[in-house]
């Protein structure tokens, strides 16, 4: 199985940088990896993201050769890695704990890998160390002891050390988890920049979905030893193929219920709705033929075209996107909190508060207004998050930070059928 051609792969068809096939890892009776397939193209920044214990680190350790898979294969640049020890795989690894050798200086740490590979042609060991330290913005640190550095600096030394012997594959195992949030954001930008500059294929493991979305070329969402979905960050966010992906990446409202009033399925692309208002409203009228009766709650509009754009690349276990559904079918759907508009009683269609800040963008239509009560609010600075009660069902809404709401306030929530993503079908 191969991924669709994004990334900066070479023009001619060559072996992918990393190819993992049907990887299984079992410890006694527990299964850590249950048949994982991953393809990473040359130069890609590929992220494995998932909750702790999902198998993402185990996958990385199989790539590095620290873990012997029970079954399946790992190929790096077309070479089978079966029986190849870590030191012969041509990899660079950065761990969460930095793992700098405490009995060596920064320079000795960076130079350690050069003991085995020698410095690149035309340079000396010292030049190479200086070059790498400059790359990670730590020039002149060669003689320092690792324990005199801050966490962020140590992590950058670890990165320089991993890159010094020119690995063909960079493996990053939660490298930022031990750092504080602000530093983490700064460092991830720097890591990504270095990765782009060197063009080095990188596999990144993190439990932080926000980080994964921010830095990756492609993401694999891992859960329970299996890959749920693989795709570009935007793709995964807007078109989650499974309920797990929908709930794991970003905030989401997930509803389950049964389909009511089935109409004829009508294909429609997202672009079609961005035509003029009248056409959109006409289309919306037809869409109201389909609705989801949420368990113990109200109804949500459904589009039969839902999922038409939700490709399920790289063999994720997504739903069959073109299938129609009938009355009575049970579905699980999700709506992003920021895709819901919120309106106070008495506001106009485009809601706003005292300073009349519009809460919805013009292209965002509304197919249904759901009556709800605000239960609690969280002010996040750039946004306000509302926890609402809609006929006994909890709904989270994210709206402009300028608008404020009171607990107990009655509101209506606007929803566009195109934003209702089906993540589980019969």
């Amino acid at each position: 199985m191969s991924s669709v051609g994004e990334g900066s792969g070479p023009a001619e068809r060559s072996d992918p940088a990393v190819q993992v096939e049907n990887l299984r890892v079992e410890y006694g009776s527990t299964t850590a990896l249950d048949g994982v397939d991953v393809t990473v193209e040359e130069g890609q920044f590929f992220t494995l993201v998932g909750p702790s214990g999902c198998g993402k680190t185990t996958t990385l350790r199989c790539l590095a050769g620290f873990e012997e898979p029970t079954a399946g294969s790992v190929h790096i640049a077309g070479e089978s890695m079966t029986g190849v020890p870590p030191e012969s795989r041509g990899i660079g690894v950065v761990f969460q704990s930095y793992a700098l050798f405490p009995h060596m200086t920064v320079g000795e740490n960076v130079a350690y890998g050069l003991r085995f590979s020698g410095p690149p042609e035309g340079t000396t060991k010292d030049e190479r160390v200086a070059e790498l330290l400059e790359l990670v913005d730590l020039p002149g640190f060669a003689d320092r002891d690792p324990d005199t550095l801050s966490g962020g600096q140590q992590q950058r030394v670890a990165l320089a050390r991993a890159l010094a012997p020119e690995p063909r594959l960079l493996l990053l195992d939660e490298p930022m988890s031990a750092l504080d949030a602000r530093l983490r954001e700064r460092l991830r930008v720097q890591v990504r920049k270095i990765q782009r500059e060197l063009g080095i294929t990188t596999v990144y493991v993190t439990h932080d979905q926000e980080e994964a979305l921010a830095v990756s070329d492609r993401i694999a969402v891992v859960n329970g030893g299996r890959i749920e979905q693989v795709g570009r960050p935007r793709e995964l966010y807007t078109a989650p193929a499974t309920r797990f992906v929908a709930e794991f990446l970003g905030d989401n409202n997930v509803f389950s219920g049964a389909v009511e009033r089935t109409g004829t399925a009508r294909r429609e692309t997202g672009g079609a709705r961005r035509e003029d208002e009248t056409a959109r409203r006409a289309a919306a009228g037809d869409d109201r033929d389909l609705a989801l009766r949420v368990d113990d709650g109200g109804t949500l509009p459904l589009s039969p075209a839902d999922g038409a754009s939700a490709s399920v690349p790289d063999g994720g276990q997504g739903v069959d996107s073109d299938r129609q559904f009938d009355v009575g079918d049970r579905l699980v759907v999700c709506v992003r909190p920021e895709r819901l508009s919120v309106r106070r009683e008495g506001d106009g269609e485009i809601g706003g508060d005292d300073d009349s800040t519009p809460d919805v963008v013009e292209t965002h239509g509304t197919d249904a207004w759901l009556p709800a009560t605000v239960e609690s609010t969280e002010f996040l600075g750039d946004a306000t998050r509302l926890h609402c009660d809609w006929n006994g069902v909890g709904v989270t809404v994210r709206t402009d930070g300028q608008r404020s709401f009171e607990a107990g306030e009655a509101v209506t929530l606007g929803v566009d059928h195109a934003d209702v993503r089906i993540v589980e079908r019969p």
């Binding site: 620290f66 012969s88 690894v93 050798f101 690149p120």
Partner: protein, 590 residues
Amino acid sequence: MDRPVGAALRRRVSDARIGRTLRRARAAGPASLAERYALPLLAVVTALLLALLFYYPVATVFVDAVVEDGRVTFGPLAEVLTDEFYLVRVVGFTAYQALLSTLLSVLLGLPGAWVLARFEFRGRDTLRSVTMVPFVVPSVLVAAAFYATFGANGTLNAALSALGLPELDLLPSLGAILVAHAFYNAPLVTRVVAAAWESVDAGAVETARSLGASRRRAFRDVVLPQLLPAILTGATLTFVFTFATFAIPLALGGSQYATIEVFIYSARRQLEYGRAASLAALETGLSLSLMALYLRYERAQAAERRGVRTLARRSLWPASWSRERAVRRLAIAGYAVVVAAVFIAPLASMLYASVSVDGRFTLDAYRFLLERQATGATFQVKPFPAIVNSLVFGAATLALALPLGVAMGVLTTRRFRGRWLVDALSMAPLAVSGIVVGLGLLRGLVFGFEAFGYRFTVTGAVAIVAAHAVGAYPFVVRTVAPPLDRLDRALVESARALGASRARTVLDIELPLVWPGVVAGAAFAFAISIGEFDATVILAEGGGTYTMPVAVERFIGRRLGPATAMGTVLLAVTAASFVVIERVGGEFRG
């Protein structure tokens, strides 16, 4: 960040990728192949050495116990088991004195744990380290020190007669044996219990208090349950150690208070190997089952606590006095007097006796140690060769035990199936007494065995080094393994990813980082070899391989001066080792 650097790097990456694979392929020659199998090879060599130096010899003891004239008859063992004298008088007395010694050690050790864990005072850390001393103090040294104190011509009687009081006849006696055992084992109890006490979370006690428990009640409900396992640990170890006691009852007890080990020794001297083997098998069986029971219990208990806030320590000299505080301080002062009498007085008496004759200062005893000529009949021990032997054996032990222990340490910190078995097998020498090991080496290696059509024999000296190494290497393992175990696995894996083979990683990363543990282990090994008595005396019988401890034992009761002088030399060597252990790598998991 500098642009050109990045660009230059990028240019090189594509060329380098091809070059790298080739370079690595070339590197995979025979040298790297050897490196790859270095660790498995190390494991095999270690296992073979252990089998040859420990398991085979000890097995021969068990075989001797059940085989007569080449047939399995269980005769010797049955003889011992059905003989009321051996069963009651020997085994019974051994268990009895071990039980009393355990009680005394716990009684003497517990207040020490309380003081160490709950009070702050100058020298607390030093005192804490000193509780490790019994591991390195030779048992004959303690015997000599007790002789110098409580013997007929000891300092106690000298003091009594100076005061015009009647002299006491305290040796040989059961009491002296018990106190000497407490000298060894009370510090062990103190150490183990103080560690448990310090790992009690102050938060748990404070929570109990906030919920309404009085101070006493909180102690009973929260602290005591966490101390009991440690007390039990200290007591079990003490019982096992004192059950297999040898040098102390031999020197201080005489024939009335002979333990199993003393009987094994006398059976060996009378060349009754079957009887010696039967007693040894019986004792080892009992010790090992007790140890196994204990280890099972310990595994069930094992839960390492980290990051707890320890109970705040109070000052020994409080800012304000209350009745209760004064009573406690008085109790501590009383305890200090007992500690001084049990621990310090014997050693001081020994030093004093070594430089005085009838209250007059003299270095005659030390001069005697350096005499190379025999000064009497052949049964007399020549002191100078004993010193030379001790140093040679110590060095040889170091050369054998250090690599063995480090290899074992590296192997036991690997994660693999059946590691517990490796752990147990490698630690077994701790649970088998020196007498039994010595007997095994004598029967198995010194008398020789036939294999592949050849007869293998070793000299007594080689067997002594083997016995010392077997006794010493578990201490190396115990100083090397904990820091190795704590080492971040990512350090090793980083080195591997950077191109180092597994064996290379041991040399480049692991050993440099646990170096203090290795040095401490070396000091332990040396100290244990220098002080080893039990196996040595079995193997040195009739040969020219006397060591310092054997000489001390021979001098005890005959010539106090040389005995105490040599005891002092032993003390100096073991104290030096202790300082090395303490200064360099003091984190022995004992």
